[in-house]
């Protein structure tokens, strides 16, 4: 029998090892799997490479993970946001590495990782400092840069609801990186607000097919990052 449900967020992240590459969903707080990230803080794995569009806000969620010195490298497109304090501070001190990737290239590299594409060419970043050191190549008279697919050991993703096969649906623009990150990780770990019966999601409406999901944990009322930040909450 297939049942991807895990009983606790602690159990869901228990086997993450030091040095792992971890993709973390979300665009700002929308889609950020805050309970899974906090479980990873409790778990304590260190020297992580984190792939995520941003670096978190305040002192909760991804920012707290970074603040806890568990992340040695960030791969992201926009490491500073309105309430982003932790990453900038560590970065200026040279205590965390940054690989800056244009947002669409980041998305495509993740999708390529999940699709078995080791590399592809894009016009994005050609003639900029972000293309330095990368292979440049002409196709049909236009210049492109070669970019590599990214895979991860784990991905932490948040969605609206899922079933025991791991089929997922998302909520509005909180979908963002979740579907592609599920495809690119050896072990994708998803927190959903609700468990649905098998068949409750119309087969035409499934966004992430269950094949891309390894573990599903139900977190019925996830915390809102902006709420925690406005209350100046800290984790742990």
């Amino acid at each position: 029998m297939i049942d991807k449900q895990i009983n606790s967020v602690a159990q869901a992240v228990a086997d993450i090892k030091d040095g792992s590459t971890i993709m973390i969903g979300g665009f700002g707080e929308a889609g950020s799997p805050i309970e899974l990230i906090h479980a990873l803080i409790d778990q304590g794995a260190k020297n992580l490479t984190v792939v995520s569009n941003n670096t978190g806000s305040g002192h909760v969620g991804l920012a707290a993970l970074i603040n806890n010195k568990q992340v040695s490298k960030m791969i992201c497109s926009f490491p500073k946001s309105a309430n982003s304090k932790v990453f900038p501070e560590l970065y200026k001190k040279g205590q965390i590495e940054l690989e800056l990737v244009p947002q669409g290239t980041l998305a495509e590299r993740i999708r390529a990782g999940g699709a078995g594409i080791p590399a592809f060419y894009t016009a994005t970043s050609v003639n900029t400092t972000l293309a330095e050191g990368k292979e440049i190549r002409e196709f049909d008279g236009q210049i492109y840069v070669m970019e590599h697919g990214i895979k991860a050991d784990y991905s932490l993703v948040k969605c609206k609801a899922g079933d025991r096969y791991g089929n997922l649906i998302y909520n509005k623009t909180a979908r963002n990186f979740g579907p592609i990150m599920c495809t690119a990780a050896e072990t994708s770990i998803v927190q959903a607000e609700k468990l649905l019966e098998l068949g409750a999601i119309d087969p035409e409406h499934v966004v992430t097919p269950g094949i891309f999901v390894k573990r599903l944990i139900i977190v019925p009322n996830p915390a809102a990052e902006s709420q925690l930040v406005s209350e100046d909450r800290r984790y742990p």
Partner: protein
Amino acid sequence: MTSKGIVEGWDRAQMAQRAALDIQDGAYVNLGIGIPEMVAGFVPAGREVIYHTENGLLGMGPTPEPGQENQELINAGKKPVTAISGACYFHHADSFMMIRGRHIDVCVLGAMQVSKDGDLANWSTGAPDAIPAVGGAMDLVAGVKTIYVITQHITKKGDSKIVENCTYPLTGKGVVNRIYTNLAVIDVNQDGLMLRELAPGITLEFVKEKTDATLNIHPDLR
């Protein structure tokens, strides 16, 4: 020497049944056209297996009842199928992400030839007047984690389909993990072919005689 038309060892259903024993609970499986399709019917009770068909369905169910066919719900062989509860539809690029990205656990395919190194030829005779048609075979062997082949051991003409080197154009090189024939179960590993099981009434000598490749014999040969 086998007389043509006489079935030796396992019949088609039995070959499928034998292969089905190796499909694990929870596996995501893609079944090729022909005998491989029959595997689904023989997976042991208690195992839940999800079937992928590369034309855009995960959670393929059995053939519909007569009169219930829907020409927009078909498998990769273009035959009407059903969808199980918990199924999902997707477009072709997403479907082959599952294949190329190594998300499918097992693919069971037919073969024209399999070599001692696990090379598979199953798409073209290479005949100059043949219409070449590859479909998803090359994607499947390149991307799926485990490739099983189900095939008659010898052709209708009496030639071995298990060979030192394929003479037909390859589908993929070093891709096959296990071969189920009407005579035997043979693993492909680093050292070549490893004979694991014999079909009832089939002798080791007979299999060796019918195989145009060196066979290592597993110590626990059954």
